[in-house]
Amino acid sequence: MTTHGVLQITLFFVVLVALVKPLGWYMARVFEGKPAGLNRLLAPVERLIYRLCGVREDEEMNWQRYTVAMLLFSLVGLIVLYLQQRIQGFLPLNPQKLGAVSPDSSLNTAVSFTTNTNWQGYGGETTMSYLTQMLGLAVHNFVSAAAGIAILLALIRGFTRRSVEGLGNFWVDLTRSTLYVLLPLSFIFALILVAQGVPQTFGAYKTAKLLQPTSYDQAVLDQSGNPVLDEQGRPKREKVTVTEQSIAVGPAASQIAIKQLGTNGGGFFNANSAHPLENPTPLSNFLEMIAILLIPAALCYTFGLMVGDTKQGWAILAAMTVVLVMFTAGGYWAESAGNPMAAGAGVDQAAGNLQPGGNMEGKEVRFGIANSVIWAAATTAASNGSVNSMHDSYTPLGGLVPLLLMQFGEVIFGGVGSGLYGMLVFAIIAVFVAGLMVGRTPEYLGKKIEAYEMKMASLLILIMPITVLIFTAVAVVTDIGKASIFNPGAHGFSEVLYAFTSMGNNNGSAFGGLGANTPFYNLTGSFAMLVGRFWLAVPTLALAGSLAKKKRLPIGVGTLPTHTPLFVAWLIGVIVIVGALTFFPALALGPIAEHFK
């Protein structure tokens, strides 16, 4: 660990927290339909959208209608995206003449982007046409994030409204989040990225002459891709000399901006944010890291404003931040300490003027350990999933950090909207047990937490472990699952666990080392992603509906305060204990076993 690294981590969190209040205030104005600065420009557009779509702005929806609207919207989006990938060969803006994506991969990708997961079984530059990237994937980057915000808004209204059925209008919430929040932020951010050197072009891939031609051996393959055997029955090999390099470009900046801001994480290029054209400079790296957490963090303040007590919002943000700081620090420590095997072999892993020290395997030299670890923690805490280093190459404990952050249910910042509503459900559970301890029927923000609320909250904490654990179990005992595990031992187990944790929590980052683009992983993964998103969204909306119908109780001395440091600590305790108790045995057989080897 270096002073420089610690300073960078500190700077990151200071800048993040400083941005919370202005953006949070702006979003609250937008979501409450009050003027917020961009109205003169965007209000006519907003009205036009409503008129074109036949949306009545003031029409209230009860939770069932809100849910149906959200589900239908996602379903149509999913089908369109699937079809678009299947027929992209016939569509324009495809300079590389990329053909149709395979059915299972198309399904997986369609599900992945609709659910705000952005798990990528494919490599962007070799699979997706510009049109698919822009009109398919990028559009979903916006609307899946906006749908997350809409669900959150419904839940917040559940807390603020009293004795009513209506939770707002899904179409209005969706439109406002996209138009006033995601689009302007992405627009500004894309321009900054272009200034930093990220390409934004419809032109074909560039070709560069290599300064030093490279030669290598490769197996000769026949038409169907099988190795050609020589007379002795051994695979035939041939020498290849490469003199040119094809450099993938495209309309990247616009998509990278929203992939970070909308906690999507699906890279334009396969190497994601480790790719120099996605993330060219230390400044772009810093801003992209901020962008991962920006909206989830600011929404906490928005929440506080909307429920009429900003302390409540700060408390939630404090709980999130404390966990993330602890895990970032832990990861930084583990990665800086380096590889114990290498240390045993007498390798100098200390940081110095000539080397960054620690475990640099799988990390960009441009970013170093501190910035790789912040990214790894932020991207898994938020359900972003973009990466600027390879998590698979982390030390066992360093790799445990992103894994566990996801296993907390993506509530430490979490996805745009979805992270906060997940966190509020944890707050409800924390309040329930704590409320009993002070001798009153538990209440949160003046709403009583009763059997129905506990039923929905229990569903929310129950569903994610079910999908993650069961699919991992199936994968590690069936041949079809085991065939894709390239690394032996505990590490191979971690890879499978990571893959399903990532999909089941709508994160989308990959540990790597797992051949996940197979029908088995594509289909089980699609299922896990759908469950992880919609089986959580529906109970959340049901919860919102039930809360809205209740009276709002006045806060007094007898009410458990939910903004104190003690409650924050308790909330963290509940999240960590539920997450850790659920996954500890699995982790013991993965990263922990690997660490103690």
Binding site: R440, E450, A451, P465, I470, L581, P585, F596
Partner: protein
Amino acid sequence: MSDSKKSRPLFDRAILHQAAVEAFRRLDPREQIRNPVMFVVEIGSILTTLLFVQALFGRGEMPAGYILAISIWLWFTVVFANFAEAVAEGRGKAQAAALKQSRRELSAKKLADPENRGKYTTVQASALRKGDVVLVEAGDDIPADGEVIFGVASVNESAITGESAPVIREPGDRCGVTGGTRVLSDWLVVRITSNPGEMFIDRMIAMVEGAKRQKTPNEIALNILLASLTIIFLLVCMTLLPFSIYSVTAAGQGSPVTVTVLVALLVCLIPTTIGGLLSAIRIAGMDRMVQANVIALSGQAVEAAGDVDVLLLDKTGTITLGNRQAAEFFPAKGVSAERLADAAQLASLADETPEGRSIVVLAKQRYKIRERQIHDLGATFVPFSAQTRMSGVNLPGGEQIRKGSGDAIGSWVKEHGGEIPPDVRTVTENIARKGGTPLVVADGVKVLGAIYLKDIVKGGIKERFLELRRAGIKTVMITGDNPLTAAAVAAEAGVDDFLAEATPETKLKLIREMQTGGRLVAMTGDGTNDAPALAQADVAVAMNTGTQAAKEAGNLVDLDSNPTKLIEIVEVGKQLLMTRGALTTFSISNDVAKYFAILPAAFVGVYPGLAAMNIMGLATPQSAVLSAVIFNALIIVALIPLCLKGIRYRPVGAASLFRRNLLVYGLGGMVVPFIGIKVIDLILVALGWA
């Protein structure tokens, strides 16, 4: 209240013995299925028993003796939970039986012929049935609820209404009389309208029985959480088998985790501590209510009592003593204070009401006027009667001294050709304004002055209200007095607010307003006119001596008819919830240590490095698993006393209660099992069973 409130020892031999038998009888799966957590434990016990049989007769997955040991302790886990429930239930039943015996028995003068009140038979009140007719004379208690068919009498209903002034009961509109009240003057013939004697005991026993079956709302919500935690852990343990099979292949050594160890892990992880004690906590909570002489008509009411944030308290009887006391003499112009005090004392010598006694005492204290014997004076006492509404004394010298309300004395003086002088009238108005009751004293036609009868605020009540305020509960005083008087008493008693000139309508309106604002309101009531407000309140405590309508409208009945009981009821309600919350926290915190005991034990063969996780240094993998299971079973027994007594409630506000309970049960729950499991492991080693 104090004599009927028996403090029963926490454990009684007979109860324990019976509970032990019950604990085994309730192993019946049909009994267990109502409790999802313990049902899972029972299934696990059956499974390990079968594994033991398999090991005994064939190839077992582990040594038969070891599986047996695990299995036995799993069975004990279920038995201990059953035992806790049976003990709580036994205590409740014993309490009900004791109350049945100690119930006050009234006697009644039963008339064979309602027209002929000369001929009656004395019977026990409990022998009376609906439709019987009884005679009640001055000084008698009314044996049961009924209605007056003949006679006019003044009745002291302060025991029920808290109002010190006697009320007139006669056939017609004011015919309802209540059991337990006392006739002060004249006589009444009453037709009994209820079958007394059985009702409350029946309710009480029904409540104790019902406590076993009927879950309270918060308990249902908690059960949902516990059930889903159970499902999660079931899943964790089930998927651990494939994980371990893969790990064995991957590591190339060791053997997969056994079903016995998985079942042990499962039982240790699911919240058995709270799951096993949940119904015992509920029954014990209801039992504490019974011990406070309060009958809850539903478990929901007990729980709601903990949530109350506004208490509506009647002034008289709750905040002030039921009887007023003389505080001051105000002589009329031209009359000396001694003369007034002397006359007032004479008029009160034979007046045995507390007000009368207080006049005698005040005269003695202020003016050294010694108490005299009415016989020695040769005077005749004129008792209070419903017709005259005055009392007094006729002296041998022909003086007729009377005291009574301004109106009563006014008409008496008028009858004798006089009138109340204006200065006395002003004084009486001032007294009323200050919150007191004025009595006017007259000697024949001459009005001597007024006596100031003052409301006496109960000792310690102010501190009680302060405590309530700290606990976040608002107190509102309800009184029929005018606003000025009410404000004076409210300030003295330290209540947060008051409702003056209260009528049944304004009471109801106040409750509705508060409920609209989201508050939970508790009140006590007794009269029929309280019934609408009682029905509206969230927690409504009816006095046992109250009218039938009031009792039907309330959801709790106070056998002692003590309005101050409301405060205790709130505490019992809070204790019930707190005990649940604390034990849930404790139960879940326990899991951390159990992981550190069982996981290294289960997988050290596959990944030897995991031995580093055995931070307790448990002797062998076998002893580690067994110690965790034994700890898990014994902790249930260890917590029975706590769940019977309930966690102590302190009126300190939610924030500090939370801090304290989190420290004790959260942090304690984390630490205790580390120590407990280690100790059990050491004992197993010492016994050579490790």
